[in-house]
């Protein structure tokens, strides 16, 4: 990891953006162009089907009342049973559609999440290193956990509920108009009241839910810091103080949590009871209209009567019930949209541009120096350089000659990190960088493998401007070993093979031997098949570094960058490893960064960096003789870090 970082982006949540829903739906349809519409049809069908029984029931009860006096079941059944059979038919259809709908929803939701995750991850892989240097890892993780979870709620629950409820509300609305316009108008007043309350209370709840998310994040950060600092806490018996600090954070969390939930919990009863009041008002006004004999206005033209008021009442229930369902989804919708905004923010990041056209190919190099491209692995490589001007292709053997000329660079506008740096490394040379933290040592290596692009100057690899080389090929030709080693979950063997996926077990073991790692690996309980977890937490830092060196060795690149690669290996072990390291470095161009000067002493050239400038350069003997900064560092008269 770069030790010099651009300032961390604040983890502030972005404001909700317009058009989020549209974009989300577009993606959903894009993923499942057939299934999503089919699901919607099912939802619509179920919604409409659920409004029909009410009218059938009404008819049947009427019939029963009419036939009750006669006691003639034969006659009544002839009239009633067809209705019931119609109802059964509807039920069967609606059962089929609801089964289909729920099964499809389960399938689509998970498929959608899968595709989102994959899209996010693939985009993330293509982002430049700068993105990872400027964003907190916890924040990036949040995309995959919280934000995706919120999206799940939105897609699996809120959207179907919204569709179903709005269809039901609409169809009920038209049936109501069919019965009575006056009563419908009355109901609309109630709807306005409900909307108003939802906006007020639901808005309050949404506000606190957003605060809640932040408070939860803050808590997590605190716990994280405490877990990292456990040892210090124990050594200083600081447990009580930590508890106090945690109490404060906990109280804050409690405060927003209960407010958010209180608003959310109250919304249901409020809307339901406004619904109840509506019911009462409709009943009362209906009754009054009946008594006063007010002429009805309706689509059906039916006169006002008890047979209008009663079904109207049950529809009132259905109407407000559905609106209540929608209002219950408000939090999920707001959180889901916030999640969508953030997820899209990740997806909209600009991928690392790669316009390189010079590629690395297997080649056979004839004794006369002519290069032919081959399909199979020859152990020899060449740069394939197509020239657009005349359509010709030239091949340059891969040698590992790296030249930087007059390079300037800054991570942030106006804060230059490197000034006019020139470094020439011929194939097989060992070039060392020495200097204080922040002098720009790591930055130089970041530029060679194009983790960052230079502002001014030139970097050439085997005479080719590295901007012309395809990034993946450039990086393939450079091996890096960093101070902080990252091992992935898997066996030791898998971790070494990461350097070259085609390597056989023998090749991996040979690389480990070269790096001096074989000795301790074979002593591990499972040897090369020992499972590493948690970044190899069961190994010491030095052992992890040895595996990382083996990983680079198996890649067998012509150029290697060792950024404090042996800093955690004690001098004695380093002396043992040194032989392997020397073997590893032999015939390769090597850039070494180390603050332990014994590591760099035998370099061909040592560059002393200070504030982004090379202030001294030369061999160890030359620099010692000069009695400059290097000499002071070397004699310990000067503090390095």
């Amino acid at each position: 990891m770069s030790k010099k970082k651009a300032p961390q982006a604040t983890s502030k949540r972005p404001p909700m953006q317009k058009g989020m829903l549209k974009r989300l739906l577009k993606m959903l349809f894009g993923f499942y162009p057939v299934l999503v519409p089919l699901t919607i049809v099912c939802i619509l069908f179920t919604a409409v089907a659920s409004t029909i029984p009410a009218t059938v029931l009404q008819q049947v009860t009427e019939m029963i009342e009419n036939w009750q006096a006669t006691g003639d079941w034969e006659g009544a059944s002839a009239e009633i049973l067809p209705r019931v059979f119609f109802l059964i038919g509807m039920y069967v259809l609606s059962l089929i559609s609801i089964t289909l709908e729920t099964q499809l929803m389960a399938y689509i939701t998970q498929g959608f999440l899968f595709k989102m995750r994959r899209t996010m991850f693939e985009r993330m892989q293509d982002l430049p290193i700068q993105y990872f240097d400027t964003h907190k890892h916890g924040d990036i993780m949040c995309y995959y956990t919280n934000d995706v979870d919120n999206l799940r709620q939105l897609v699996a629950q809120s959207l179907p509920t919204l569709i179903r409820a709005s269809v039901t509300v609409l169809s009920v609305f038209f049936i109501m108009l069919y019965y009575s316009v006056w009563l419908t108008c009355l109901l609309l007043l109630g709807v306005v009241a409900i909307l108003f309350v939802t906006k007020k209370v639901g808005g309050g709840s949404a506000k606190y839910f957003v605060l809640l998310v932040n408070a939860v994040g803050k808590q997590e950060g605190f716990i994280q810091e405490m877990m990292n600092g456990q040892k210090v806490i124990k050594v200083f018996t600081h447990e009580e103080k930590c508890k106090e600090d945690f109490d404060k954070i906990r109280d804050e969390l409690f405060d927003v949590s209960y407010r958010a939930h209180a608003f959310a919990n109250m919304l249901g009863p409020i809307i339901m009871n406004i619904g109840n009041v509506m019911y009462v008002i409709v009943a009362t006004v209906g009754g009054l209209l009946l008594i006063k004999n007010v002429p009805n206005l309706s689509l059906s033209g039916l006169p006002f009567g008890i047979d209008i008021v009663v079904p109207f009442l049950s529809m009132t229930k259905q109407f407000t019930g559905n609106i209540n369902q929608v209002s219950q989804q408000i939090n999920s919708i707001i959180m889901g949209m916030a999640g969508a905004t953030r997820v899209f923010e990740l997806m909209d990041q600009v991928a690392e541009p790669d316009d390189g056209y010079v590629t690395l190919v297997n080649a056979r190099i004839a004794p006369d120096g002519s290069v032919t491209e081959t399909a199979e692995r020859t152990g020899q490589w060449a740069w394939k350089h197509p020239h657009s001007a005349d359509g010709s292709v030239t091949y340059t053997p891969l040698r590992g000659d790296v030249r930087m000329t007059g390079v300037d660079f800054c991570y942030e506008e106006g804060k230059p990190v490197l000034h006019d740096v020139s470094v020439y490394a011929e194939p097989g040379q060992k070039v060392a960088f020495v200097g204080a933290t922040g002098a720009g040592k790591t930055t130089i290596t970041n530029l060679i493998n194009r983790f960052y692009d230079i502002a001014d100057g030139k970097i050439r690899y085997d005479g080719i401007n590295i901007n012309k080389i395809r990034k993946s090929d450039l990086r393939r030709s450079l091996g890096i070993v960093l101070q902080e080693t990252y091992l992935s979950t898997g066996t030791v063997m898998e971790n070494i093979r990461y350097g070259n996926l085609d390597a056989t077990d023998e090749e991996c073991i040979r690389a480990a031997k070269l790096a001096g790692a074989d000795d301790f690996i074979t002593r591990l309980p499972g040897g090369y098949e020992t499972e590493l977890a948690n970044n190899g937490a069961n190994l010491s830092q030095g052992q992890r570094q040895l595996i990382a060196i083996a990983r680079a060795a198996v890649a067998d690149p012509p150029v290697m960058i060792l950024d404090e690669a042996t800093s955690s290996i004690d001098t004695r072990t380093e002396a043992i490893v040194q032989k392997g390291m020397d073997a590893l470095m032999k015939g390769r161009t090597v850039f070494v960064i180390a603050h332990r000067l014994s590591t760099v002493r035998n370099s061909d050239v040592i560059m002393v960096l200070d504030h982004g400038r090379i202030i001294e350069r030369g061999s160890h003997e030359k620099l010692i003789a000069e009695r400059g900064q290097y000499y002071q560092l070397y004699t310990g008269a000067f503090e390095l870090e």
């Binding site: 899968f114 997590e220 019911y279 955690s568 008269a637």
Partner: protein, 578 residues
């Protein structure tokens, strides 16, 4: 298990009770409203007077307002109770974790502990809220509705004899089938997220080896695996709705066919019974559905609850004994036949057969290669870990007999991984002694050679330290950490490779200071530089968890091959430096 969780309700018990009371009240009013409306409708049907209608209307409005009030209050108290519950739960967990020793923490892994305190607590909080809101209400509504259906529907209520068991069995079966599937997939999901995190942290390696495509494929396969498992589990749960609908429809059709026949051919029931049956039938099925949801929710959060309980019931591996000794006599240290391994399962001992006797006030140097267990050795002194065999004595007393705080307060340790916390320099130093005066702080800093550079900062001791101490150099950080340890006025001071970034001159100044100003304190210095230890009273050379040899510098040069090798290597060609 539940008992332990319920204990966390504590001062929020009254809110739980209030919630239950108001929810019951709300439920009662809620079931009464249809009654009265039924009456109102009957009145309207029979052409009642306006004042009768208005009276009923007024009564209903009052009831609705009451129901609203009850529901609203219950919503509020419920939020308070559940948030309070989770607050207490977090407190209990955090305090428990604070008592953990490293072996406890290692058992769970620290990232898992963080998840348990966040995600798992949130899950349990949600279930808790769900339970107090519905646990009484749903069964109550169920019983009430069954009784009413029986009273009002008469023989028609036999439909429920069929429907309720079918539905209950169906829900139970679905839950039983889905739960293991969910549990399995949640674990996979956790692993997927871990692998993302690994990828994010190791992005330089991924990019350095151009492994983006490989990582994409690997992730795609993992995510696809989860998708198919999740889909299977969710599809099982998705059967809940159609099953519920099926029962509801069956009930409707049954009531309509049987009811209409009975109504017409007998006097046993009339239309009123039928519509009451339909209404109550709906309510019964709804409460069953709610109960099944609670069942699903509880089973899902059981996993979380279990994980929390695990944390709460873990016995701290290291505790102060009863009638512990609170006074550390002096800084003498004795290792008697000590062997140590980090976990019982570990095959290899980290330390074997250590015998070591250090008199109070001595300076001991320790030198050894990577993995030679230098740090393991000194961590036994403040009892960060317990020995596996033998015993460690401080001040002539077995460390296991001391009160932990007392012991650790007299042993100051500067760790290899130095950590400063976000805050000012002064605040960080006060970790050593909360009551230290400014003069004491400066004194400690002078001793650790930190005063000069601190004073050179514009804000001096009030300079703000970023999280992780990124705005001071490695050497400065180390010197501040030493000062922090000195402020404890310890009887034993342990420096675990903590001057590695300090230049040789300052390093020796610090050691001279120790000798002059804290002669009584036993000093243990782990170092990679021979120069840092060569003037110690006793030097240990560690190799593979054993003391390879010990003695003074001159003795070791004669007797220890390793020591001589290291020494020659470091002095060869000039005074080597880190």
């Amino acid at each position: 298990m539940l008992k332990r969780l319920v204990k966390c309700v504590r001062e929020y018990k009254k809110y739980v009770i209030l919630t239950l009371v108001f929810i019951v009240a709300e439920a009662i009013i809620e079931t009464m409203i249809p009654f009265i409306t039924a009456n109102l409708i009957n009145e309207i049907k029979t052409g009642a007077e306006m004042n009768v209608i208005l009276r009923y209307g007024g009564l209903l409005v009052v009831m609705a307002v009451l129901s609203l009030a009850c529901g609203g209050i219950a919503g509020f108290t419920c939020a308070k109770a559940s948030s309070g519950f989770s607050k207490n739960l977090r407190q209990d967990i955090f305090e428990k974790i604070m008592t953990y020793s490293f072996s406890n923490v290692d058992k769970f892994s620290s990232s898992s502990l963080v998840t348990r305190m966040t995600t798992d607590v949130a899950n349990v909080q949600m279930s808790f809220m769900m339970i107090i809101r519905t646990a009484i209400r749903s069964p109550l509504m169920l019983i009430f509705s069954v009784v009413m259906a029986y009273v009002m529907g008469g023989p028609l209520s036999t439909a429920f004899v069929i429907v309720i068991p079918v539905l209950g069995f169906g829900f139970w079966k679905i839950g039983q089938k889905a739960m293991p599937a969910f549990r399995a997939v949640f674990k996979k999901y956790d692993r997927l997220n871990e692998s993302i995190e690994e990828n994010v942290r190791g992005m330089r390696v991924v990019k350095g080896f151009s492994r983006e495509e490989y990582e994409k494929e690997k992730f795609g396969a993992g995510a696809e695996n989860i998708r198919s498992d999740f889909t299977r589990a969710e599809r099982i749960v998705a059967l809940n709705t159609p099953l519920m609908q099926l029962c509801m429809y069956f009930n409707m059709v049954f009531v309509l066919i049987v009811g209409s026949k009975m109504a017409i051919t007998t006097d046993a029931i009339d239309v009123g019974h039928i519509s009451a049956m339909l209404n109550y039938g709906m309510q019964i099925l709804m409460s069953l559905m709610m109960l099944s949801m609670i069942y699903v929710m509880i089973t899902m959060s059981t996993e979380s609850a279990k994980r929390i309980i695990e944390v709460l019931s873990e016995e701290p591996a290291l505790t102060s004994p009863e009638d512990a000794i609170t006074e550390v006599r002096d800084g003498s240290i004795d290792f008697e036949g000590v062997s140590f391994k980090y976990s019982e399962k570990a095959k290899r001992f980290a330390l074997e057969n250590i015998d070591l006797h250090v008199k109070s006030g001595m300076t001991v140097g320790i030198i050894g290669g990577t993995g030679s267990s230098k740090s393991s050795l000194v961590q036994l002194i403040p009892r960060l870990y317990d020995v596996t065999e033998g015993c460690v004595k401080v001040g002539g007393v077995d460390v296991r007999k001391y009160d932990l705080d007392a012991l650790r307060n007299s042993v100051a340790m500067v760790l290899q991984k130095n950590l400063l916390f976000a805050g000012t320099i002064r605040e960080n130093l006060k970790w050593g002694n909360a009551n230290a005066t400014d003069e004491e702080i400066r004194e400690a800093c002078r001793l650790s050679q930190a005063d000069d550079f601190v004073m050179s900062f514009p804000d001096g001791y009030d300079t703000h330290i970023e999280q992780g101490g990124t705005n001071v150099s490695g050497g400065q950080k180390q010197r501040l950490c030493i000062a922090r340890a000195l402020l404890k006025k310890p009887k034993i001071l342990i420096l675990d490779d903590s001057t590695s970034a300090v230049d040789t001159k300052t390093d020796s100044l610090i050691r001279e200071g120790f000798k002059a100003y804290i002669p009584e304190t036993t000093k243990i210095i782990i170092a990679q530089r021979v120069a840092s230890v060569q003037d110690a009273d006793l030097i240990l050379v560690m190799e593979n968890g054993r003391i390879e040899s010990m003695g003074t510098h001159d003795e070791l040069l004669r007797t220890s091959v390793i020591y001589r090798e290291v020494y020659e290597q470091q002095t060869n060609g000039g005074d080597d430096n880190e």
